[in-house]
């Protein structure tokens, strides 16, 4: 356990150093993460005005609150591992990682957490500025804020495990971009990024309940906005735990099978 802590601390320093070198890449990520929720915020505010003030119980101010909180939740839970694995497998840079006495996922987790520690203050400043522009209606409750902390951590864990497993598809094909696109499109719809899930037609809402996407983004967002009852929150945490367990099992199976087909070309 102490060894693992040392690894995390070391990875923290490495990531820190590389981010200080590549600041522009950070800005590009940030723009991407701000622009998308901002676009849908604007679109849905326009919808609510066109529909005479509110849509499905959402006023323009509610949409502003929803998409600003969603922006932060998305930023807290996102990973970019799928882009990286294709490169690692194709170029063979995964090979030295495999020789190390720890599972490669640990350096990825440390890398991800470090980058978020660096970018989160910037994100919060952006969120506050957007708050001044769009005047969101925030009425949350105390227990929801308390519950948000474990829920967002679970959301991060679920998303990390699933996307890490999906990234392993690179062991079998180098054309992962079509697969990634499919994943992201499904995510866009069923996580609540395009619209709050309450506004989707009923069949889609049922699908969203079963799939993992909602539990990684939409659910923490709705919780923090005080839109969920305690029962709904517990159900959601149950779904998160179920997906985390399923994801961990799947990850082990895929990782073992993937290592067998990995040929370390280019290393």
């Amino acid at each position: 356990m102490r060894g693992l802590a040392g690894i995390y601390a070391q990875q923290f320093k490495v990531t820190m150093a590389s981010f200080i070198q590549y600041r522009a890449a950070l800005v590009i990520w940030l723009i991407g993460h701000v622009l998308e929720p901002l676009i849908y915020l604007v679109v849905w505010s326009t919808v609510s005005r066109s529909a005479g003030g509110s849509v499905g119980g959402f006023t323009a101010a509610d949409f502003a609150a929803y998409f600003i909180v969603l922006m932060i939740v998305n930023h807290m839970t996102y990973t970019w591992i799928m882009y990286e694995y294709e490169y690692r497998v194709r170029q063979g840079t995964l090979s030295p990682d495999l020789l190390r006495p720890v599972h490669p996922i640990h350096s990825d987790i440390a890398d991800n957490l470090t980058s978020k520690l660096i970018t989160l203050p910037g994100m919060l400043v952006i969120a506050v500025s957007l708050g001044f522009i769009f005047r969101p209606a925030l009425h949350t409750v105390l227990w929801a804020i308390a519950a948000f902390i474990p829920v967002v951590l679970l959301a991060f864990a679920v998303r990390f495990v699933i996307e890490w497993t999906l990234a392993l598809a690179a062991f079998w094909t180098i054309r992962t971009s079509a697969l990634n696109q499919m994943y992201f499109m499904a995510m866009l719809f069923f996580s609540g990024q395009i619209a709050p899930l309450e506004l989707l037609p009923h069949p889609l809402r049922v699908i969203a309940f079963v799939l993992p996407f909602r539990w990684t983004i939409g659910f923490p967002t709705e919780l923090l906005l005080g839109r969920l009852t305690p029962t709904q929150t517990l159900t959601g945490m149950g779904m998160q735990a179920a997906w985390l367990a399923a994801g961990l099992v799947l990850m082990r199976v895929v990782w073992r099978a993937g290592l067998k087909v990995y040929s370390a070309v280019g290393a």
């Binding site: 522009a24 590009i28 679109v43 326009t46 066109s50 499905g56 522009i133 079509a178 499109m185």
Partner: protein, 261 residues
């Protein structure tokens, strides 16, 4: 004429390069279909709650989505790859080979790399546009069609000049790729009418990152809501940027020192 012949040559080179990776076409098509499908499904969700959006009817927004795919496909097919290669050539000193050719070098660098499979975006975008036009039907008269074509040309010139200006910054600065990337990620905002955005963002999308002229303005023309002053303004901006980007290019090339070649 000469331009078309050259473009055809580079297009052929692009196809020859890709012929050994034919299955890429299928994957490109799949990605384009997915992207377009999500865009249209998103519209369906929006219009299940309202019949008009900020004064735009559903078919008009669908036409806008078609225009967006058409223009972004053209950017991804020719402009972006060519400009990325230009930046690389400035860094590595290989621009010499282009400058010594007996043809206008600005033209050559602008079309030197063609990503042929991005044609899927252009074809799908055009398809969506046609469907939207048929549904708009009688509302699109001769004047609307002419204004649409004119504003699309002006928008294309504006976008091209802007990319060229950004890329020629490579003559002065080392890392310009990032700016290109920021531009392409902001371009995404052009998928919706810029009139929706708050004033500061609308200003940015019109003048700092001129997306509005390439997408919203042509769509307005189709909807019959384009005023004379806007069209004239688009042409004035297009002419100004075309001249300015030419100046950028000329001054930049003069600074080019052919380092490391």
């Amino acid at each position: 004429m000469r331009f078309l012949r050259l473009l055809f040559v580079f297009w052929r080179i692009g196809i020859l390069g890709e012929l050994s990776y034919r299955s890429n076409f299928i994957f490109h098509l799949l990605e384009s279909v997915l992207e377009l499908g999500t865009a249209l499904a998103g519209l369906a969700v929006v219009f299940s709650h309202t019949s008009t959006l900020g004064g735009w009817r559903p078919d008009e927004i669908v036409a806008l989505v078609g225009i967006y795919f058409l223009v972004s496909g053209a950017i991804r097919m020719v402009i972006q790859p060519s400009m990325e290669r230009l930046i690389e050539a400035v860094h590595e000193g290989t621009l010499d080979f282009t400058l010594t050719k007996p043809e206008d070098a600005q033209l050559l660098v602008s079309i030197q790399k063609v990503e042929v499979w991005s044609i899927t975006d252009i074809v799908l975008g055009a398809g969506v546009l046609v469907v939207a036009l048929v549904r708009l039907g009688a509302n699109v008269g001769l004047w609307e069609a002419a204004a649409f074509a004119a504003s699309l040309v002006a928008g294309a010139v504006i976008v091209y000049s802007f990319w060229l200006m950004l890329a020629t910054l490579a003559f002065w600065f080392v890392r310009v790729e990032n700016m290109l990337q920021i531009f392409s990620s902001m371009y995404e905002a052009g998928r919706w009418p810029v009139g929706f955005y708050p004033r500061w963002l609308r200003f940015m999308l019109t003048f700092l990152i001129p997306v509005a002229f390439a997408t919203t303005v042509p769509a307005q023309a189709l909807a019959g809501r384009l005023s004379w002053p806007t069209l004239a303004g688009a042409f004035a901006l297009a002419a100004m940027l075309a001249v300015l980007s030419r100046v950028f290019w000329r001054v930049g090339v003069r600074r080019y020192s052919s380092a490391s070649s």
